[in-house]
């Protein structure tokens, strides 16, 4: 037999093992996805030996990432395996559960059976199927009814030097009236350019009147080919806030999708992208208004330099019966180089007539007259562009509710700007 045996977790419950096998069949059957503006076949992803399961190498994870003093709980994954999972006393006392997915498969079998894979379907594409078939570990976070945590739960996904395929999964279940913020960071050594396929999923089940905030910072090493799929379902009056930042990897096919399933549900999303060299970002932001009186506000700003390429596809779908909904999206790109390319494709699909929906997209180069104005005050061109880039991204970064996430994104912008100066492109 040419296919290697599919690895299951030790004592994996039958149901999960069955799903894993089904996902494996899907994976084998699904072709490399065809994306209109991302020629995936040409990237020869199949040349990466990603099916061989990567093992954990906790020593590679920088010490600074192993703890997070201002978190309610902190999980560190190395190559898709949880290597530490800590929760502070207040969260524990409140009944919050923070588990490695491998442990949760045993301890929270019913919850896992009910929710894992319920939102990000294995058949989304070949690499989502790969995630559902090959996953080794991930995170389960359960917030009980009425519990509000002031500090976020932080999750670090470290991509190590020897890994070829990494398939973590995160499942967040927020019960009614709860409130939680989760910050996921995907990163590795910026000097490590070996090719690695990362396919990660995050699912958010937001119970009635809950408030879940999910931030995801993608700062993967330069050889990474990433598929990051996030999807949330907001029940009655629930709110999901997304803040995503795309800075790293060679390729990132990522996105977030929100189902506003019941009346009064709402979502906001803020996406910041900074592309340089030959980076390629293909991002889908989608919201489906199913319940009436639901609202969505989606904003994205990107800066593109070098020969980088970005595609941002925003979709606001309003289903029949989702009356009195309000859907807005706005995408703007600042081009630092004539060789970079950005496509913003906002779209609205409206099947009810008592709604408000708006979209806007724009892309343009740095304003030379603004540069002249700044130069006339003695500011050198590189510093002026630096100022304009920060000024361009600032309004979106500053709308992100979590100050800690804002800081992290500013740091990421800072290192990208340093990189650009090093290349002499500023």
């Amino acid at each position: 037999m040419s296919r290697p045996e599919l690895l299951t977790l030790p004592d994996e419950p039958t149901l999960l093992a069955d799903r894993r096998r089904a996902a494996r069949e899907l994976y084998e059957a699904l072709p490399v996805p065809t994306r209109p503006r991302t020629p995936l076949k040409a990237r020869r992803l199949e040349a990466i030996p990603y099916r061989e399961p990567a093992s954990a190498n906790p020593n590679e994870v920088p010490a600074a990432l192993r703890s997070a003093p201002e978190s309610a709980g902190h999980v560190v994954l190395s190559n898709g395996h949880v290597v530490s999972c800590e929760m502070k006393e207040p969260a524990r006392r409140a009944g919050v559960k923070l588990l490695s997915l491998a442990d949760a498969a045993q301890q929270e079998a019913n919850l896992i059976a009910k929710h894992l894979g319920s939102l990000v379907a294995a058949d989304t594409d070949r690499y989502t199927a790969a995630n559902a078939a090959f996953w080794r570990d991930g995170v389960l976070l359960v917030v009980p009814r009425g519990v509000a945590l002031a500090e976020p739960v932080t999750i670090v996904h470290w991509v190590g030097a020897a890994a070829a395929g990494i398939f973590p999964r995160t499942l967040i279940v927020a019960d009614a009236d709860s409130s939680i913020a989760v910050v996921e960071t995907y990163l590795g050594d910026p000097a490590d350019s070996h090719r690695v396929l990362v396919s990660a999923t995050t699912e958010v089940v937001a119970g009635p009147a809950s408030h879940v905030s999910v931030s995801a910072l993608q700062q993967l090493p330069p050889g990474a080919e990433a598929f990051l799929r996030r999807r949330g379902r907001a029940q009655h009056d629930a709110r999901i806030d997304w803040a995503t930042a795309e800075f790293g990897a060679a390729l990132s096919v990522a996105g977030h999708h929100t189902d506003l399933a019941e009346s009064g549900a709402s979502t906001t999303s803020h996406t910041v992208t900074f592309g340089s060299a030959a980076q390629h970002f293909d991002y889908d932001a989608e919201v489906v208004h199913i319940g009436p009186h639901t609202t969505s506000d989606m904003r994205a700003r990107g800066v593109m330099s070098g020969r980088s390429r970005s595609i941002f596809t925003g979709l606001s779908e309003i289903r029949q019966g989702a009356r009195r909904t309000d859907a807005r999206q706005k995408e703007e790109t600042l081009m630092l180089s004539p060789d970079a390319r950005a496509d913003a494709i906002p779209s609205l699909l409206i099947d009810d007539n008592d709604v408000f929906a708006a979209h806007a997209a724009s892309a343009g180069p740095v304003d030379e007259l603004a540069l002249y104005y700044l130069a006339s005050r003695g500011i050198p061109r590189a510093d002026a562009i630096d100022l304009l880039v920060r000024g361009f991204l600032g309004p979106v970064v500053e709308r992100i509710a979590l100050p800690a996430v804002q800081d992290r994104i500013w740091q990421a912008i800072e290192s990208k700007l340093q990189e650009e100066r090093g290349r002499g492109t500023l």
């Binding site: 002249y372 130069a375 005050r377 003695g378 500011i379 050198p380 100022l387 361009f392």
Partner: protein, 259 residues
């Protein structure tokens, strides 16, 4: 220490291939206020933008020096750091960049990277300059010129001048579009900055700002040249007799004279 000297000699400038300045000569020294007056379209703003190095203006002849250094060989930002300042007629709006952050960056561009301006010192100086110009302190945290009224933009230009302390400042129509109270406030700000270390070139269409800032010299520019220079009384003559007087009496004399 010798005060600054900006010397413009036989300056010829083309815009989009069309000659606008046709041999303009003018020298401004520290402690002096020169007013450049003239009807619209005679090259006053071209002069201002050329001094600062706007990319649209091509110098086809003549020279500009600051203390003997060739200004035309410098990039715009280097000109500013050498001590030139232009208060723009139409300042740009710069989204996302606060006035305070912008000014601090501009000040730090003049200092050693290892010795940035101290925040407290900067804030105190900024607050003081804002008080001089009757600008609400909240403006420091607004995005540069974004949503500012015409008068607020002009005051913001003078605010920048007060903080950046140039050696030669060119004020391009700093009084246009302002009501008389705003003209007075702006003029007081300009007046507050006068001293032996600053030479001022005031470009204006109207005489009214000169009621508050008395010039040492007045130059009338017509068709790309200085056609007459004189003392402050020249501005008054111009005010009472109008630009028609320039056209009818001064220009034929100039155009009729041998080049």
């Amino acid at each position: 220490m010798a005060g600054p000297e900006l010397a413009i000699s036989d300056l010829q400038v083309a815009v989009d291939g069309k000659l606008v300045l046709k041999g303009l000569t003018l020298t401004v020294r520290g402690g002096e206020v020169h007013a450049v007056m003239g009807p619209n379209g005679t090259g006053k703003s071209t002069l201002a933008q050329t001094i600062m190095g706007h990319p649209r203006y091509q110098v086809t002849g003549g020279s500009i020096t600051l203390d003997g250094r060739d200004v035309l060989a410098m990039k715009t930002d280097a000109r500013a750091r050498a001590g030139l300042f232009l208060a723009m007629q139409y300042p740009n709006e710069v989204s996302g960049v606060t006035t305070a952050n912008f000014l601090r960056t501009a000040l730090n561009a003049r200092r050693d990277a290892k010795d940035p301006v101290r925040l407290k010192e900067f804030r105190d100086e900024l607050d003081h300059a804002m008080d001089v110009l009757s600008i609400d302190h909240g403006f420091a945290n607004r995005y540069l010129n974004e949503g500012f009224s015409g008068g607020e933009k002009k005051r913001n230009e003078i605010l920048q001048m007060l903080l950046l302390k140039p050696r030669i400042a060119v004020l391009d129509e700093i009084d246009s579009g302002l009501d008389i109270d705003a003209v007075r406030i702006v003029a007081e700000g300009v007046d507050a900055s006068r001293g032996p270390e600053l030479g001022l070139l005031l470009i204006t269409h109207y005489q009214r700002i000169l009621n508050y800032v008395t010039p040492d010299r007045v130059h009338i520019v017509y068709d790309g040249r200085v056609v007459m220079s004189g003392g402050p009384e020249l501005a008054e003559t111009l005010e009472s007799r109008g630009y028609e007087w320039v056209r009818e009496e001064l220009v034929p004399a100039v155009e009729g004279s041998p080049a």
